[in-house]
Amino acid sequence: MLKIFESIITTPAITLGIVALLGLILQKKGASDVVKGTLKTILGILILSGGAGIIVTNLSPFAEMFTKAFNLTGVVPFDEAVIGALIEKVAVIARTTSLIMAFGFAINLLLARITPFKYIFLTGHMMWILAGSLAWAFYDLQVTEMNTVIYGSILQGITMVLLPALAQPIMRKITGNDTIAYGHLTTTGVVAGAYVGKLFGNPEQSSEDMKLPAGLDFFKDTAVSVSLVMVLIYVITAVFAGKEYVETLSNGQNYIAFSVLNGLGFAAGVLVLLQGVRMFLGEIVPAFRGIALKLVPGAKPALDCPVVFGYAPTALMLGFIFSVIGMVVGMIASTMFGTIVPLPSIIGGFFTGGTAGIFGNAVGGRRGSMVSGFVYGLVLTIPVALFYPLFGLQSYGIEGIALLCPDALLVLSLVKLFFSLNIPAVGLGALILILIILSIKFRAPKEVVNQ
């Protein structure tokens, strides 16, 4: 009996369901809300894993075709799918991800309370991706579960508080106030892009004073953009791989039909996965937020990238277009590294490349947004290729996808670095020390002196 109980409890869907349950109870929600919220969290995670499975199935033929066609491994950079697949395949990673997410959030609250960095990271899928990345990294380094959760949560909490702080000077310029922050794992990328853009640009010439076509609007619909791009990439690759080879993969089905169907199948998997993410986050984020508001006065929410879109829609499109150009250049450059070839991520290009454009415009005007977008496109491809061999994905049976978010790559690379040098504790100690130093440096000017 106890065994059954234990195996249910250690399933990620249930673990996060319990977190939602606690969050709802703490907010004194009625019984029906508690039941609804908890169930939807659990269901959301199950749906999400289902979507991850569909994606991986539809992508394997592509991976093989690409290798045959170009003698290289082309991969689709797509964080949600990577984490979803890892969680589905490795129970330990599934468990530690949930725990890191929950404890990491608690540490975020604690740090927001005691340091001058009063940011509460509220972008659910990003929290999940970082937690999953950390869980994966420590699992791959063969760290014990207990230590994974401890190290992981501390890293998660510190990252969640420092990233928004990094972006805030530019966010203040974009929004004209200090009430909201940027909560995304592309912070280092968009900030770096913006500052490079600043070197070439003129903040007086805002992109918002320009006119651009609205025809690119449909990219906002994920179903459409993913389908179109994936089918295109699939078909082009199939043509290069050759009809004969592809038909060995498709069991005789016509090679173009096969490619189109798999490309669409990939998009279908993406939609299922996103539906699951939507359902689960729809419960977890309000649960977290409720807890946060009660505990951290003066807190600033660190939010998902679309919150800035309204401030500079033209910069958004410029950033998008130029980041796609940057990604193509980066993709070609990556062929020289001999690892993998990261394909341009159109969704990433729109949402986060667009954000890079907005950040760039804030400090460098229209030229700034274009340069920022381009630099960011390079950031979305070259580091992905360089990072891929650091931690295994193929060893887990995951082909064809790669981790993308610049901040996650950075954190994981640092983890790998310190573990390789056999001084992980030193690394962690150094990080905490840096946090303390930064806190002292940026402390609020008014120091209340006890009378």
Binding site: A214, K220, R278, D304, C305, V307, G310
Partner: protein, 91 residues
């Protein structure tokens, strides 16, 4: 009464909007079922009121029902004003 918030992905902006609206309704003791959806799934849905950010306007022209657009998602005053006005009209 049902209210649906809409955005591109369904768990970023629309979720924040949903939480802001939940707070405003709770403050004013108005009961409503608020949920967050993405552009793709929202087409077939029915609700008394839809809320989205101004830059979604062109994607939501055929939604039919009552819809309000918010210029500045983080301006609680704007959201409060528009929501309360729309809700009072529906009651």
């Amino acid at each position: 009464m049902t209210i649906i918030t809409v955005c591109g992905m369904g768990f970023g902006t629309s979720l924040m909007l949903k939480m802001t609206i939940d707070d405003i309704l709770a403050e004013n003791k108005i009961k409503a079922e608020v949920s967050a959806w993405d552009l793709g799934s929202v087409k077939g849905r029915h609700a008394d009121l839809f809320v989205a950010s101004e830059d979604m306007k062109s994607n939501l022209t055929d939604i039919g029902a009552n819809i309000i657009f918010i210029k500045n998602l983080t301006d609680t005053e704007e959201v409060r004003g528009k929501i309360l006005k729309a809700v009072k009209q529906l009651q």
